[in-house]
Each structure stands twice: as structure tokens, then as C-alpha cells.
């Protein structure tokens, strides 16, 4: 039920009364419906399932938690070196 991937909104338009976007999935583009994320702006990342954005990706949250994990990983590497 859950194959959804992040993509970047590069253009927003209307088709047949629906708010739509052209989304960039790393070089592949597809039309995506934004009706469920009406606040979405060009340049933002959304999580897309079967051609519909189901949520916006919180980039700040993503960056922060990845950074935290990198720091933990670095510390562990250090600890690993010190372990006899």
C-alpha cells in the first residue's frame, strides 16, 4: 500500500479543475495531483503515491536527523577504534 517516493515540484498548473504539478523525481518527470497538499509551492518536495502527493516532505527535519545520525556514526567509529 505504500510505494511512495519523494519528488520536487517544478511547475504547478490546473487540469480539468484539479490542482496539478509537474514533479521531478531525479530526472524523471510525471504529472502529479496536488489536491491533498494545496499549500504546496514550486521548489518543495512532496511524497507521491500513484500520482498523488500525500504529504509534503519536511526538508529541515530530514537534514537535521541525517546530520544527527552522521554525528552518532562518527562517534561510534571513534569508539570502535578505542575498543581494545
Amino acid at each position: 500500500m505504500c510505494l511512495a517516493i519523494p519528488g520536487k515540484i517544478v511547475d504547478i498548473f490546473e487540469r480539468d479543475g484539479l490542482k496539478m504539478a509537474k514533479v521531478d523525481y531525479g530526472g524523471i518527470f510525471r504529472e502529479t495531483c496536488l489536491e491533498y497538499v494545496p499549500e504546496a509551492q514550486v521548489g518543495e518536495y512532496c511524497v507521491v503515491h500513484v500520482g498523488f502527493a500525500i504529504s509534503l516532505l519536511d526538508e529541515q527535519d530530514a537534514m537535521e536527523s541525517l546530520e544527527l545520525l552522521k554525528q552518532i556514526s562518527d562517534i561510534e567509529e571513534e569508539l570502535g577504534k578505542d575498543t581494545p
Binding site: 500500500m1 505504500c2 510505494l3 511512495a4 517516493i5 519523494p6 520536487k8 480539468d16 479543475g17 484539479l18 523525481y25 531525479g26 495531483c33 489536491e35 491533498y36 497538499v37 494545496p38 518536495y45 511524497v47 503515491h49 500513484v50 500520482g51 498523488f52 500525500i54 504529504s55 516532505l57 519536511d58 526538508e59 527535519d61 530530514a62 536527523s65 541525517l66 545520525l69 552522521k70 552518532i72 556514526s73 561510534e76
Partner: protein
């Protein structure tokens, strides 16, 4: 791909696994709900990398697998009807009904089309006014907003030749059914990340209170999965019982409110039969009567359906996490991906298919540290 590749970083994944190893003092049985998570675990061999105390059992989160046999047979009958264009998500095409599947209907001349998005089915209805376009609207909560939008859009466009065959199921009642079973061994849940992107995770608090089992919203990439496992293990080791969110970049507590509102506008909660498991009360969604015009079950008279499930298939027990695929005597013998007996072998997210395709080879290899 941005926001995908970072979550496959081997160093970060192993860092979290090390943390799990340091945290765990006790064996724990965890269940991941979503078939997409099962697929990711088996594809990346994550269960091989975890400390032996952690046992992962696979849940019923594969809408393809749990669609009732009667409904598949109804779909096959409709798809075989003249002047019908039957649209479906790809994974449904191979699911066996009683002796046939959509592929065989196609081979006999039925117009069966794979669509990526339900809006593509609506477009087909616009382009083929002389045909009846029927869309097989299956899914968990994640797929409900797209499926219902197709109905609303068809209504807005004034289409009279579009209808949907609904098979929607919901996660919280499934969890309740699993936890209520006297044979339940699950001690912690990895909740389906994208279901929660739509629904939030407020629905799980009452379940956590009732059954005293921690539940963690978990994503789909290797880093997401091990972080979900870490959080669950941390809660279990600390004796804490709560709902936590390990997929916060995509999920928040309330979920997607416009999506939930639209779902409620078109669907109502109802009892649903789960293939292999049986009836779970209020575990499904049905189409509200005001949308009867778009309900394929009302539009097509499919007659009496006599279903016939393979007696060898134990998919139901696998979907509840009670057995593993290799516990089934037919696994890999009578039942293979080329000749599936039940839905868990057909769908690429079914536990049996995942185990079979990615091969559960007995390997006595040391895990290489990156």
C-alpha cells in the same frame, strides 16, 4: 534520488544497527505492517544484519494479498464482459481468483489495462464514451485519497461510464485483530509510514492503551526501517508503552486533513473480509450510497460467485504473523512465483513472494562491517 539515496547509506545504517545491538538485552518479536516494508527488509537483507534477539514477523499490509477471493472473482467476471475497459494497478493482474486471473481474461480478449494512477482510468473513461470503464480500487489508507478523487473527478466531469470496484482495508482494526488473537507473539509494531502520512497516528493511541504494546511509525528505506526498529526496541527495553514517530520527515500526528476529509466524504467504515484471515469488523471502507452511480458492484450484475481457494495455501496464517513462508509445506514446491496458490505468493509484497524471490538461502557468512 534526493531523499532516497541518503537513507541507503551503509555507514549510517550500520551505525543504527550497532545501537540496536547495544540496546537489546532480551529477545523481542516485532511486526512490520506494510508489505512495502517486508519487501525492503528482504531486498536489503536487513533481517540478516540485526542482532539475533530481534525477530521480525510480517504483517498483512499487502492490499493485493488480502483482497477477498469473491471480489477478485467479481472483478474477473466484469473484466470479461463486452464493452468493458477494466483498469487496475499492476500488482493485481497476477492475483489468482478461482482458477483464473486478469491475465487470462486479457488473453481471452478482455480489455484489461494497467494504470499507474486512478486519474488515468478517468481519462480512459473520457476518451472511450462508448465503453464502461471500471477501476479496481484496492488499497489501504494510503491509496484511498487517490481512489476517491477519481470518483469525485468523474462526478465533476459528468461521466456516466466510470465506476469503481472497491476493496479498501484499514490498518488499526487489523492490528486489533492480530493482538486479540490468543496465539499472538507480536510485542511491538512498526507502523506503515505512508498510511500514517495520510491518517496521522492518532488512531493508534487507544490500541496502545488497550494492548500495552509500543508502536512506531516507520518509513521504507533501510535507514528508516532500522531507526523504527531501534525506537521500538528502546521502548520495549525501557518498558515504555507509547506511539512514536520515526518517519517525521513525512508524517505528523494529525496526518493529511484534506485527504481524511475527502475519504470521509466518499467512504464509510464497514465490515470487510480479509482473504486468508476472515471477517474483521469495521476494517474496511465502502462507497457511500450517494455515490451508487459509481459503484461497479451495483452497476454490474455478477451473478452467484462460487469461490474456490487452494486447500494447501496458509496465506492467512502468514498474514497474521503466525507462520513464516517456509513453514508452509507447499512453499517452493506446488506454490512458486510462477505458479502461485495464494495471494501472498502472487503479490511482490506478499511475504511468500519476497522470501521466494530473494531466496532465504542459509548462509553462514559473517556480516561484513562497512
Amino acid at each position: 534520488m534526493k531523499y532516497v539515496n541518503e537513507y541507503r547509506d551503509a555507514e549510517l545504517v550500520h551505525g543504527v544497527i550497532e545501537e540496536i545491538r547495544r540496546t537489546v538485552t532480551h529477545p523481542w518479536v516485532l511486526m512490520e505492517i506494510c508489505g512495502g516494508q517486508t519487501h525492503a527488509i528482504v531486498r536489503h537483507g536487513i533481517d540478516q544484519l540485526l542482532p539475533p534477539e530481534i525477530e521480525l514477523v510480517h504483517g498483512p499490509g499487502c492490499p493485493v494479498c488480502v483482497t477477498p477471493l469473491e471480489l477478485i472473482d467479481k472483478a474477473l467476471t466484469i473484466a470479461a464482459s463486452p464493452d468493458v475497459v477494466f483498469c487496475s494497478y499492476g500488482d493485481m493482474l497476477r492475483v489468482p481468483g478461482s482458477g483464473r486471473d486478469l491475465f487470462s481474461i486479457k488473453a481471452q480478449g478482455g480489455d484489461v489495462r494497467v494504470v499507474y494512477s486512478p486519474l488515468d482510468a478517468v481519462k480512459l473513461a473520457q476518451q472511450n464514451p462508448d465503453k464502461q470503464v471500471v477501476f479496481f480500487a484496492i488499497g489501504f489508507e494510503t491509496t484511498a485519497p487517490p481512489n476517491v478523487m477519481s470518483i469525485l473527478q468523474a462526478q465533476r466531469l459528468g461521466l456516466t461510464n466510470y465506476s469503481v470496484l472497491i476493496s479498501h482495508v484499514r490498518v488499526p482494526p487489523a492490528i486489533k485483530a492480530i493482538l486479540s488473537s490468543p496465539q499472538n507473539r507480536v510485542q511491538g509494531f512498526l507502523l506503515a509510514g505512508h498510511v500514517s502520512a495520510v491518517m496521522g497516528y492518532w488512531e493508534y493511541s487507544p490500541l496502545v492503551d488497550e494492548f500495552k504494546i509500543p508502536m512506531v511509525v516507520t518509513g521504507f528505506e533501510p535507514l528508516d526501517i532500522v531507526q523504527g526498529i531501534l525506537k521500538t526496541v528502546q521502548l520495549l527495553e525501557a518498558g515504555k508503552v507509547e506511539v512514536a514517530n520515526a518517519y517525521s520527515r513525512a508524517v505528523n500526528f494529525d496526518g493529511n486533513l484534506p485527504a481524511q476529509k475527502t475519504i470521509n466524504q466518499v467512504f464509510y467504515e464497514c465490515d470487510r473480509k480479509w482473504r486468508g484471515i476472515g471477517m474483521i469488523p469495521m476494517s474496511g471502507w465502502g462507497l457511500r450510497p450517494e455515490f451508487d452511480a459509481f459503484n461497479a458492484e451495483k452497476r454490474f450484475d455478477v451473478g452467484a460467485i462460487h469461490t474456490q481457494e487452494s486447500s494447501l495455501c496458509i496465506a492467512g496464517q502468514i498474514l497474521q504473523g503466525l507462520k513464516k513462508p517456509h513453514d508452509c509445506p507447499a512453499f517452493g514446491k506446488e506454490c512458486t512465483t510462477e505458479n502461485p496458490l495464494g495471494a501472498t505468493m502472487v503479490s511482490s509484497e506478499g511475504a511468500c513472494a519476497a522470501y521466494y524471490r530473494y531466496g532465504r538461502v542459509e548462509l553462514n557468512q559473517k556480516v561484513e562491517q562497512v
